[in-house]
Amino acid sequence: MVFKWLPLNTTGRSIVPQIIFETEDGQALIVNTEAEHLMQAALDHEIPGIEGACGGVCSCATCHVHIDPAWTELVGPPNDFEAALLELEDQFKLCSRLGCQVKLTPELDGLKVRVATGAS
């Protein structure tokens, strides 16, 4: 596993969650983010495999991630819109979420997710 820290795009918020994105080619990209959602954090840091094509309205599943088992309870389950889409995804797992539907809070500092779009 290769770890790489990506620069923070900061606006001065006091508590900035750190997210670890594991890409499909095995890199671990660590970002500090002020984004509202996981998808936006990935787009802001150009995480390979996360396209966010629909802009975050739960239409395309190009922000599909697997939540690390240690974090699934805190992140919570998918909503009904999301679950209906995810169950048809090739890489669906019980820990699947759409990044656009995962709101980032200070409690998610250290969150680890794996890109699961199959696009990178």
């Binding site: 629909c54 802009g55 309205v57 739960c58 819109f81 999301e82 209906a84 889409l85 539907q101």
Partner: protein, 380 residues
Amino acid sequence: MSAHPDPFRQARASSCGMTVHVDGEPIPLVLDLQGVRRAAKDWQAYSSANPFHITLQSEEALRNFRQLPIETDPPDHTDYRAIVEPLFRRPAQPDYAARMRDIVRRTVDEACALGTLDGVLSFALPLQSRALALLLNVPESEADEWITWGIRAFDHDEQGPSKGARLENYIQRQLEHAAGTPGEDLFSILHRATFRGRPLTYEEKQGFANLVFAGGRDTVIHTTTSILAYIAEHPAFCPQLAADPALVPKAVEEFVRVVTPLTAITRTCAADTPHQSAGGRIGLCWASANRDDRFFKHADRVQPDRAPNPHVAFGFGPHSCLGASHTRLLLRTLLTQCAERGLRIQTLEAIPNVEVFDTFSRPIGFSKLIQRWSAQQEIP
């Protein structure tokens, strides 16, 4: 945009469903969102490898080669699609977005200079054509010829659509040019491409190019004109976007949901299915799925801030629209500039374009949209 009825509502709510008859062939429609998604994903059961028969109306009269990659299934489809995918991923590049902004700015400028115009022929058609030149990476001057074709890529005469000689001749010219002076455009990519170690046949090259011209033409034009009509009917919309630019992507998704310019696409059943016998076709009705009230509250209303918005206007599964990123960028850029420039539009005459089958009809965009345009601000 003023009338956006849902002709599938009753059928979707009943157990009877809806069957369309095309040239005597019964085609049951899948109407609910999750059913459409499941069928679109399940290419083994519902095959797309039925040349000329992926639209409700057969396209045998329009061409004599299969469109690629759409009229194939995986794994062929995967390999064919990979040939052109890099070209269709370019909209994510900053330079591409900048060039799109320039195209939209110039086309809006021209419309404002005209003052009174047909939004179909004098705005949506040139905008779509110029943007397509950007997507195909060909000189924008090529769009001048495409604009003369009107809103349909295929020729039409008094008897209706005719074998697409005009488009085929154009594609032939471009492929010959690419063979002589290859560049980085679509035709050169097709010239160089190999499929499992062999060069593409001429018919395969035609199949790719034909789909690019046919698939993204009237769909983009009808969505664009629907947006123009909405702006005219809702004068507060552009100021709302200007005040909250984050609304733009959501608004685009909502417009493509409500318009759904491609009503349905068909699949051929590989074996007996709950919908149809083996060998028969079913229709994946995107337009109905996008009004499924289990997923869309007040589904017939345009709600520019709708989120979530799990629509399937760009299809779903392995055959989803290759041009979706390009179209999203085009429409987002258009809305952004309309907002930044304080565009004001008044509709003077609107003739809806209506698609008619035996069991349903639905308006999709406009065949004529006479409007008066003015902008409050210029963009340098």
